[in-house]
């Protein structure tokens, strides 16, 4: 299984990772190797098998619809890289 340069760039963009052009061959080789290993599943007949997403197949627990969370904004924002007046700062999005 080999991925072309364009595919590597697309995956990196979807994953929000920036990769250097000169590193693309390394990514191709590494991801290709992993996908080759993963291909071992291909011949297994799984037509009748229901996918297993969770080992114990438990249902999500419901809780009463009441507010339990307290406001921890100050505490949480203490370790934010940049904040101002209770907001997280990011580069300008709208011109």
């Amino acid at each position: 299984m080999s991925l072309d340069r364009k595919q590597i760039e697309e995956i990196a963009m979807l994953a929000r990772l920036s990769i250097k052009a000169e590193d693309i061959p390394v990514h191709q080789q590494e991801l290709g190797g992993i996908l080759d290993m993963v291909e071992q599943m291909k011949p297994v007949d799984t037509d009748e098998i229901v996918p297993l997403a969770h080992p114990l197949e438990i249902d999500a627990r419901l809780r009463p619809d009441v507010i339990t969370e307290q406001d921890h904004r100050d505490k949480n924002q203490k370790m934010a890289p940049q904040t101002e007046a209770g907001y997280y700062l990011v580069p300008k999005v709208i011109e």
Binding site: I11, Q40, P51, A53
Partner: protein, 485 residues
Amino acid sequence: MFSHSLVELSRLLDQRSISSVELTELFLSRCQDHNQELNCFITLSPRTALEHAKAADKLINNKQHGPLTGIPFAHKDIFCTEGTRTSCGSKMLDNFQPPYDATVVKKLNQAGMVCLGKANMDEFAMGSSTETSFYGPTRNPWDLTKVPGGSSGGSASAVAARLIPAATGTDTGGSIRQPAALCGITGLKPTYGTVSRFGMIAFASSLDQGGPMTQTAEDAAMMMNAMAGFDINDSTSLERETTDYTANLNDSMDGIKIGLPKQYFSDDVDAGTIEKINDAIKQFEKGGAKIVDIELPKTALSIPSYYVVAPAEASSNLSRFDGVRFGYRAEDPKDLLDLYCRSRSEGFGNEVKRRIMIGTYVLSAGYYDAYYLKAQKVRRMIRDDFQQAFKEVDVIMGPTTSAPAFGLNELVDDPVQMYLADIFTVSVNLAGLPAISVPAGFSSGLPVGLQIIGDYFSEPRLLNLAHRFQQDTDWHKQIPEGFTE
């Protein structure tokens, strides 16, 4: 004193033969003396440790203590500790001081244990050798040129060198059992949903499970009593009656059926390892257990299934690291996309990025069915294999790893070979089962681990068998040269 088990330390504290402050000082000085050669710890917190030790001594003097009160230990650096840096072995979280404690942290605090620091680990628990840590590799105390296993390698190495009597670990694909095996200690991966995942930094949420790493099975049982239990804050935590994990330790093993899967004893497994596992099995036979040959035919498929499911979940979980709310942020971003991409690329190491990319690919439009759904179907087949086996036998035994510890840098550039080293451990996580690794001897001078796998919620049985084995053997009491004084 430093080589005592939790049970022995507990008794000495209870008799007031030693104080928690004295114990804490003793283990802290061992940690400080040996950390340079082993690199087990990312952070040591002597000041808070001594404060906690003083508080523990007060409880002991007032006879308000429990069995773990005053005993020093360390947390894997994946468990959030309020006010103490929790890095997860990553540059991304190098400056991260959590605003809250993980449930496991809270529970062990309540039990009065004294946390000395945070143990080294593979970055975001992704690795089998503790070499992917931003803080450099941990070394195996049995041979400093070998890896301690991973991802809980700092915990395993520190317990093996007797720098601490116990540690916490987490196991997503073998990350408690494999380092326990390679360092010659005892490590239990509980049934999925037994130990709360709240505040345990997520890698693959349907596989992650915390557990104890100790010298003995009896100690692991003691730790489990404090660590396990329902937690409203973890949506997959199981509501079950409280289990006393120490209650069945001395049960008889007469008539217990032990399954030996053909696939776990193949020619690919190191001969010295097989020899030690066979010796261990004879020991169980002597105790009255019956041996049954079984098959786990899908064993080889567990690696491909796991290396789709785990990276898929990881790519989703790690999307929270965006340089906005916490963690590493790239300097001078030119726009929001640049902020995301560069913060992530500069903050994550190679193995983490590799898994994020694989996970992103297998979840992307057009590939989801062929990879992710296929892997989940194979996952069910692997679980069904085990369920079939447990109709016939009580537990399954085999080697935890196919070979003893490998060399530092030996596999670091070959991800697929590194992944294949997880062959006997990942299927247990895919199925959500409990399993324990116990020291079973040495091959070429390096520790060998015996893995005992049980059906859901069979931890008391696993601990019982491991404990009985440890009554008749002394592999778990061996201390690596250079750490005996």
